[in-house]
Symmetry: C2
Amino acid sequence: MTAVPNTRERIVSAAAKLFYSEGIRAVSVDAVAEAAGVTKRTLYYHFESKDELIAAYLDVRDQPNLKLFRKWFVETEGDVMAKVEAIFRNLARAARHPKWKGCGFLRVSAELANMPGHPAIRIGATHKKKFEDWLRQIFEAERIADAEALARQVLLLLDGSFAVVLLHRDPTYMETAGTAAASLVKLALSRSVMGCR
Amino acid sequence: MTAVPNTRERIVSAAAKLFYSEGIRAVSVDAVAEAAGVTKRTLYYHFESKDELIAAYLDVRDQPNLKLFRKWFVETEGDVMAKVEAIFRNLARAARHPKWKGCGFLRVSAELANMPGHPAIRIGATHKKKFEDWLRQIFEAERIADAEALARQVLLLLDGSFAVVLLHRDPTYMETAGTAAASLVKLALSRSVMGCR
DNA sequence: GTCTATAAGCCGATAGAC
DNA sequence: GTCTATCGGCTTATAGAC
């Protein structure tokens, strides 16, 4: 809420752009500072370390990301199958953008696989849990018996499509994942209606 | 087939261990050379660049990896659903090993997301296509109508479970993925028997 | 084919002035 | 809070001897 352009925010914004585009280990602190228009010393005034900056990068992406998924869901006409499938279709559209490079959270967790307790990984894990919980609540509202398992299955298809499309650069995999997700939702729904476990 | 311990093989073996354990950008050429017991100059005699070494690392993992999946599949008693599910159950067991750090192919593609044409990414893409083709052939042999789509769906669940388990360090997601995969196979099988598209 | 030695520069992080 | 200047170490890759 300061009146002047916030230096910290400019640094995080520059970091987000570079880290997502190039990868966190490929981008130096120098490069982030230069892109933000500050010196490295200023950057280290606002952040204790590069690791803290990486965590800040993912933290600013948390809410906007979840909000976008919710938007795609609610703005779609039809039943819950159609709404879930629409998430994947919208994601496929996003993946066709030349600057798309997968899921920032998953890429950081892959890059930092040798540092399991890293703050950025915690933020990524929390983000994905929030998404899974959101799905679970939706399925519970639909009176689906094992909403928790179904939410996990849809999450697995979503994160799988991030990984596969990043590798093959073929967004049609996201549509395949959407079809699979819709099938699983339908199956769970039919089981619940029949009163089965 | 040389009689003496092959220097090139020792280098690739050391690289594989370190790259998988720490990440490709986190490991220096110096570290690989030292682990292999050769000097950096010798390493650069056998490999033109670090990029070529990364590609070699994934290349040696291609066949053993596919062979393991086939082994898990054929050694499982029961129908195709049980066999597919067994892949995920075996993977969950592997993921519980303390040294497990996800899928090497996917992690490289995440680390090199800014270099789409990198030789190592091509090798990873080819590897995953081989796996997908193997699944497709299995489903075709089961007379499943859209074997291609089903193979892609199972692949998406598999790679999704790699990504999610790496993030949460919770191998039960692999069992959830296995359940989902079995459900999708069963669904496709029932559709094919009924003669539907 | 393997070695020693080193180039040339970038890395994360810091000292101290203002 | 932002600057200039720089530390010590590590980076990929190479020159030239044997």
